[in-house]
Amino acid sequence: MRREVLISIRAMVLLTIVFGLGYPFLVTGVSQAVFPGKADGSLIDRDGAVVGSALIGQQFYEPVIGKNGKPETSKGVAVTQPDPRYFQTRPSGTVPADNAAGSSFANYGPNSVITKDAIQSNIATYLALNTAPDKHPYDPAVTHAAQVPVDAADTSASGIDPDISVANAKIQAYRIAAVRHLPLATVDALIARHTTARSLGFLGEPGVDVLELNLALDGSK
């Protein structure tokens, strides 16, 4: 029995060294040598600093300016709102939104009033953002809930979904074109360029990488 106990301990220690250190180090070494950018998180640099990751959604928000002309704060934290000049990502369940250091599900159930309320609130936000100050929708075809694509109203799983559907992007394109004074065709062309197709043509769903698209927008003006 004592011999067997010793064997079990020796086996665990050996496996721990080989597969707890050796295996991840080997994978790290090879990955860093062969796929350095990807192994480090597909980070994107702008002006010499990391602006984000192509695989991670982020907030494209601006400070809310109060009546006195200064940024509003609530409990010392600046109040922000979606920046109409940028494409917006999907609703996020993390705290704060798009928290890439603390991913979490929203866990909204299918038969809950709480879920319905959350979806309705997302729809209202989306419609308001895509409505011009003169109360006309930027995209004339999108005026009420039934025309909002599901991905714009439903919370993503990770809370940091980098993509939106092409339908969602094409609706927001009207707003972007108007706010940035660009031809709609130019914005649509950018969307097409930053749409990730299905892998190998049929795996997964197509999506538009919002960070890359917004960077391209900033570069095009």
Binding site: R10, K38, N107, Q120, V150, S199
Partner: protein, 592 residues
């Protein structure tokens, strides 16, 4: 539903059917000591492992000796992992996210340790907010290998028990473990990790990255050695994510291809082992019969889940959303799903990881529609015999096969035999106990969790409201842990953590302990019964096939087997299923 969605599902099924016999044949060679193409590479390390462990790989073990080795090996692993997780504050690679991670309290650690030992990998913790890279690699990754290997070798021991006609031996535990890891798990995991990195999974030991954001809103991005753990997490049907949201995180599962690839990894070994079994008992037809029963139930589950998710949820419809497919949008229930996976890949992922003991998720199960959410319940209620976990699926369905043979024997009025071996009172008692322990543990724990205030404290009323979802959360938590699955209706809480680090974190002791005990008991008791059945069958004389012998390799038997599995699962779980998932599937009512 879309044509493209079905195309993916059908191709997946075709690849599964094509790959299973190949991996199965390979594993049969590994476990019968034959030379394989990796022998020149792994032969030396294999002997080196035996020498360092102090093991004689040729020592034959009977079932009791084999079982003792399983228990001692697991005990050593449990203690080591517990110590690693409790000593985080003195570990290297800490304070990489701007916050030094302390050890989680004893109750959460008990849960995490027990669940990784048992291939459950329940996550009452969030990886990127509470665990150091050291804990993830040296603690969790190691058990991803070890717990998977234990499941596989128990299945192999049961096969040997069924196949051996003259000897009581079930093989050598440590030899089986070493060969499993060196010839099967490690090579596939290593290559798969690199495949994942090539698609965007991360693999580094860097500090968390501070990004300044387009709008000047700072964003901290968690890093880590992710791909190496992701690969074995899927291959070993473990399922514990490096990150809190598991395979929904873009760094764990960056695109449609990785999603598909990870799902193939999950089923590769469980489906392959069926053919390993066929090889080792010398009957390919037996393997095909068992595989067919599994596949029929699997395909049914995928169809229901996909249809339900494509239809959308009552909450969506009440909010005024249109959920049918439109140009450039998948439609359907995208609540808690990622755009790059859409509805079809989320439904497929959900079914693949809940028929097996994987339990990884790429979408929020709690946000599935009532019917879509009932599918994982049904899969777990079948005790994970539809392919099942690595090894566990095969040894569980073989117990069902013996039970089906017994029932069939009663119907035709003959002494039941399986592969020529008489099934007698001792075997059938052990089989019945082995099959009933997991469901009974699940029901007992659910009852405790529902009836006690301490248990109900874990229900996330902020998202469930007053409806049946609260019961579904509780039931799923213990059904999942009893089946060593590890997927969750993730509102169910055992561990409250603030978002910045884990300072001030605490566990819900009741849920932590009950979950951990449930996982341990429902893992090791069935293992002991499966090994005891192996011991009872090993060395039994084989009677020749006669005219009245009930065949176990034809379509009639496949139907009988499916019937027995559904009957046992339904009779055991129907009342509980009615209270939660079935209500949710049938009602269009919204609960406040």
């Amino acid at each position: 539903m879309t044509v493209n969605g079905w195309l993916q599902i059908l191709l997946f099924c075709a690849l599964l059917i094509g790959l299973a016999p190949l991996t199965g044949g390979y594993m049969a060679k590994v476990y019968t000591g034959q030379r394989v193409f990796l022998t020149p590479l792994m032969g030396v390390p294999e002997r080196f492992f035996y020498r360092l462990m102090g093991v004689d790989p040729n020592r034959e073990q009977d079932w009791k000796s084999y079982a003792r080795s399983v228990i001692l090996f697991s005990l050593a692993g449990w203690l080591l992992l517990y110590v690693i997780l409790r000593t985080q504050s003195i570990q290297p690679w800490n304070n990489y996210g701007g916050v030094a991670f302390h050890a989680a309290p004893w109750n959460v650690t008990f849960n995490t340790t027990s669940s990784f030992l048992t291939n459950t990998n329940w996550q009452f913790y969030g990886g990127e907010t509470t665990l150091t890279y050291f804990s993830q690699m040296v603690g969790l990754t190691v058990q991803n290998f070890a717990s998977a290997a234990v499941g596989i070798v128990v299945a192999i021991a049961l096969i040997r028990g069924i196949a051996n006609r003259t000897s009581k031996s079930l093989g050598n535990f440590y030899s089986d473990i070493v060969r499993t890891i060196l010839y099967v798990l490690a090579p596939i995991a290593f290559i798969s990790a690199l495949v994942l990195v090539s698609q965007g999974s991360i693999q580094n030991l860097s500090h968390y990255v501070s990004a300044h954001g387009i709008s000047g809103i700072a964003q901290t991005i968690a890093m880590g050695p992710v791909a190496s753990q992701e690969a074995i997490k899927m291959l070993g049907t473990n399922g514990g994510g490096f990150f809190n949201v598991n395979s929904a995180h873009p760094f764990e599962n960056p695109n449609g291809f990785t999603n598909f690839y990870e799902l193939l990894l999950v089923l590769l070994i469980p489906a392959g082992l069926v053919f390993t079994y066929g090889k080792m008992v010398g009957s390919r037809r037996q393997a095909i019969a068992v595989f067919a029963a599994m596949f029929v139930m699997f395909f049914g589950a995928v169809t229901v889940a996909y249809a339900a998710e494509a239809h959308g949820s009552p909450a969506q419809h009440a909010a005024g959303l249109h959920t049918q497919v439109i140009a450039n949008s998948t439609g359907g229930n995208m609540e808690g799903k990622e755009q790059r996976f859409g509805v079809a890949d989320s439904a497929l992922f959900d079914v693949v990881t809940t028929v097996t003991s994987c339990g990884a998720v790429n979408s929020s199960l709690e946000s599935f529609t009532g019917l879509g959410g009932a599918v994982p319940f049904a899969n777990l209620s079948a005790s994970e015999v539809i392919f099942g976990g690595v090894g566990t699926g095969l040894y569980s369905i073989l117990l069902y096969v013996v039970l089906a043979v017994f029932l069939g024997g009663l119907m035709v009025g003959r002494t039941p035999e399986y592969l020529g071996k008489k099934i007698e009172a001792r075997e059938i008692k052990l089989v019945a106990l082995g099959l009933l322990i997991t469901p009974l543990t699940a029901l007992f724990s659910t009852a405790l969790g529902t009836a006690s205030a301490a248990g109900r404290a874990s229900i996330d009323t902020a998202v469930t409201g007053s409806g049946p979802q609260g019961f579904s959360e509780t039931f799923y938590a213990y059904l999942s842990q009893a089946n060593n699955n590890g997927s969750a209706f993730a509102g169910y809480t055992g561990f409250i953590q603030p978002n910045a680090g884990n300072a001030g974190s605490h566990g819900v002791t009741f849920a932590d302990l009950l979950g951990g005990l449930t996982a341990l008991f429902a893992r090791y008791a069935p293992i002991l019964f499966a090994l005891a059945v192996a011991g009872a069958l090993a060395g039994k004389r084989v009677s020749p096939v006669g005219l009245g012998t009930m065949r176990t390799d034809n379509a009639t038997f496949v139907v009988l087997l499916i019937g027995v599995i559904i009957l046992v699962g339904a009779l055991t779980f129907f009342p509980a299923l009615l209270l939660g998932p079935i209500v949710q599937a049938l009602t269009g009512h919204l609960y406040g």
